[in-house]
């Protein structure tokens, strides 16, 4: 066990005589309804976010069993995976997608659940709108039938993705059966250089510990570089915890958290706000808290990251080359690399900056917030998308992000450069709607998964930050945005 260093709020630990606890320990302890003899706990869930893909079978299960939601007012629903990002006035063309979205509408209506329907100005990606509405608050347990629920941990909330059976379980009981995870601390010391972002920290971490490195763990992100991140940056980082294998990521509450939340629609007000804030400032690991494992990165050494393979751990700095499987000693890993290079149609030793692209996608629950769009727009302002790029797409994370960006004139910057400016949704992150790669196409994407076929069957995905995607769109190939 490793004692915690560099606590942002030292000496404020309450509960004299109580063992020092991590932030995860505190969140866990506060939500245990009961624990059985072998350590399986019944964990109370404060906020349940629901989207159209992983909920229909859960609602059907409720009906078949004659059950009803335990606390409908804890649920917030939104369609995001299937929605078109083009003109929505004609509805959804694909009848199968349309049925799924209509099923969500019907279920929410029937069970008294608040839903931001497709035509609601607040509609957007579930992991963007939860925080945006203040529906995600520090100290909560937050679940959703979606692995990127880890995003909400940026607020000092215990947030993790669940399967559809668990969606049904939470609807019916407001609880989940859980075993406690281990505590992993990722400390990022120093400061990020110009052109290096939270996305690069996430990718570098996954490159370091691997996509299974955080399995069975909750990751707390701490250290100087994390404290300096905006809430948007913290959300990007926590979002990709799952790509490191950890169901949940966490960042301790500080002034940045509180400032972000004040005045949001679901956030408490008046005297209740003051009480809540006092409580939230306890949401950090105690100074002497023990972690099962600690990983340290130096922010100052990080360069922009680019994935080259079909797993997020297959990542290098933009200044590097595609690695050679022949140098990998482990046979299982080596064959995985060979398979990935064949799928990606890349040769070992190719400079990352020599990789040319067909499409660029700026969006997803990882990188579609206002700050991401501002950063990307700053790179492309006054420039044009390269000739060889078939499509450059900007998909804002929510209707409110889109409106904010338009108020700032960002849409005009993107459009003038040759980007398409779309309606909010998950879009080409997983290509459940009409936005997708054609077989063989290569894409610079700000999303979170470069799995085979993720963005369309046969499509080739390179994960990058929004500024790296923007710069690649202008150049037609990857470039180091720091010198662009």
């Amino acid at each position: 066990m490793i004692p915690r260093h560099g606590n942002p709020r030292q000496g404020q630990e309450g509960g004299s005589g109580m063992a020092a606890r991590t932030l995860y320990d505190k969140l866990w302890d506060a939500h245990v309804v009961r624990t059985d003899d072998n350590g399986t706990a019944l964990l109370y869930i404060d906020r349940h976010l629901v989207h159209e893909v992983t909920s229909p079978q859960a609602f059907e299960g409720l009906r078949l069993a004659g059950r009803r939601p335990w606390r409908p007012d804890s649920v917030l629903a939104v369609p995001d995976h299937n929605v078109p990002t083009t003109d929505r006035s004609a509805g959804i063309q694909d009848p199968v997608s349309r049925l799924q979205v209509e099923t969500l509408d019907r279920n929410c209506e029937a069970f008294g659940i608040l839903e931001f329907t497709m035509d609601d100005p607040r509609q957007g990606i579930v992991h963007v709108i939860g925080p945006e509405e203040g529906a995600t608050l520090p100290g909560m347990t937050v679940v959703c039938g979606d692995s990127h629920t880890s995003t909400h941990g940026a607020f000092g909330a215990l947030a993790f993705g669940i399967g559809t059976s668990e969606v049904e379980h939470v609807l019916a009981t407001q609880c989940l059966l859980q075993k406690k995870s281990r505590n992993l601390l990722l400390r990022v010391d120093g400061r990020l250089g110009e052109g290096v972002f939270a996305k690069d920290i996430a990718l570098a971490l996954i490159g370091t510990i691997g996509t299974a490195g955080g399995t069975g763990c909750t990751i707390e992100f701490g250290g100087e570089a994390i404290r300096a991140l905006s809430m948007e940056g913290r959300m990007t980082l926590c979002n990709m915890s799952i790509e490191a294998g950890a169901r949940a990521g966490l960042v301790a509450v500080d002034e940045t958290t509180v400032e972000y939340l004040e005045g949001r629609p679901f956030a408490p007000r008046g005297e209740l706000w003051d009480r809540a804030v006092a409580d939230w400032f306890e949401l950090h690991s105690d100074e002497d808290a023990l972690f099962d494992r600690e990983v340290v990165l130096d922010a100052g050494c990080l360069a922009p990251q680019v994935t080259w393979g079909t797993s997020p751990e297959m990542v290098v700095a933009v200044t590097e080359v595609v690695p050679d499987p022949a140098e990998e000693a482990d046979p299982v890993r080596r064959s995985g690399m060979e398979r990935a290079l064949a799928y990606m149609d890349l040769r070992p030793g190719t400079a990352i900056t020599d990789i040319h692209l067909d499409r660029v996608f700026i969006g997803s629950c990882t990188n579609s917030r206002i700050e991401d769009l501002r950063a990307a727009a700053a790179v492309i302002r006054g420039r044009r998308v390269a000739e060889g790029i078939r499509q450059a797409l900007v998909v804002p994370g929510s209707g409110l992000v889109k409106a904010q960006a338009e108020a700032e004139g960002l849409d005009r910057v993107f459009r003038a450069a040759g980007f398409e400016w779309r309606e909010p949704g998950c879009s080409m992150c997983l290509a459940m709607n009409a936005d997708r790669l054609e077989p063989g196409e290569r894409c610079a994407s700000t999303s979170n998964r470069n799995f085979e076929g993720r963005q369309g069957q046969g499509g080739r995905t390179h994960l990058v930050s929004p500024t790296m995607a923007a710069a690649a769109a202008i150049a037609g190939h990857f470039v180091d945005v720091r010198t662009f």
Partner: protein
């Protein structure tokens, strides 16, 4: 849920690490609002040479002869042998539904992604973690022996090889109990409804901001409201 006690079945080897749930069941098949019928599209992009879309007749598809599940010797397999970090990525339970619908009742791997591991137990699919070296040995045995079968005895927590070797495996006692008995976890949890209500009452006093409903839902009638 279907009970799991003892199973003797053909083992199919899927020899690649980090098999993600996008590969197990690609996104275009997640649009279904049902729990059944996903087996036809299990590993769709690897299993077929043509591009799969919902509603296609599997009989009209072009199977990829190189893919393991299309090889005659693995027909009828109900145990999948896999490498590390099986089921990583998306939380889609459709991945488990697809494996189960195809006919698999167990997956053996050195490690599983957490959400997939959880989802498996809710659907009568038994994920068995074994030491990587042991899994490696099983891969070699399966490759060397057409029709290779393993016997899984869940109550005893053992695997038995055709040579009679007995390999023990670990499993959480609660999960095992639910699987062996085919129990509904929601029923089990609702037995503690009074404790959940007592917890809620305490939290409402301690942290009332966690219970403030958004204005739009306050007093909103529900056609199928709670009891």
């Amino acid at each position: 849920m279907e009970k799991f006690t003892r199973l003797t079945a053909i083992v199919a080897p899927l020899d690649r690490p980090n098999v993600d749930t996008d590969a197990i069941i690609p996104k275009q098949f997640l649009k279904s609002i049902r729990r059944t019928g996903f087996g036809a599209n299990l590993f769709d992009a690897w299993r077929y040479l043509d591009q799969g879309e919902p509603g296609m007749d599997p009989g009209q598809r072009r199977p990829n002869p190189d893919f393991v599940l299309n090889q005659p010797r693995y027909q009828g397999a109900r145990i999948l042998l896999a490498r590390e970090n099986f089921g990583c990525g998306s939380s889609r339970e459709h991945a488990v539904w697809a494996l189960a619908d195809y006919g698999f009742r167990a997956v053996i791997a050195p490690s599983f992604a957490d959400i997939f591991y959880n989802n498996s137990f809710k659907n009568g699919l038994l994920p068995i973690r074994l030491d990587a070296a042991l899994v490696d040995r099983l891969f070699r045995a399966v490759a060397a022996t057409p029709g290779y079968r393993l016997t899984i005895d869940l109550p005893a927590q053992t695997l038995e090889t055709p040579e009679g070797e007995v390999i023990p495996f670990d499993i959480d006692p609660f999960r095992k109990h639910c699987l062996v008995e085919g129990l509904d976890e929601i029923d089990l949890t609702l037995q503690h409804a009074d404790e959940i209500r007592a917890y809620e009452e305490r939290r409402r006093r301690e942290a009332p901001w966690l219970f403030t409903a958004p204005p739009e839902t306050a007093g909103r009638p529900a056609a199928e409201g709670r009891s």
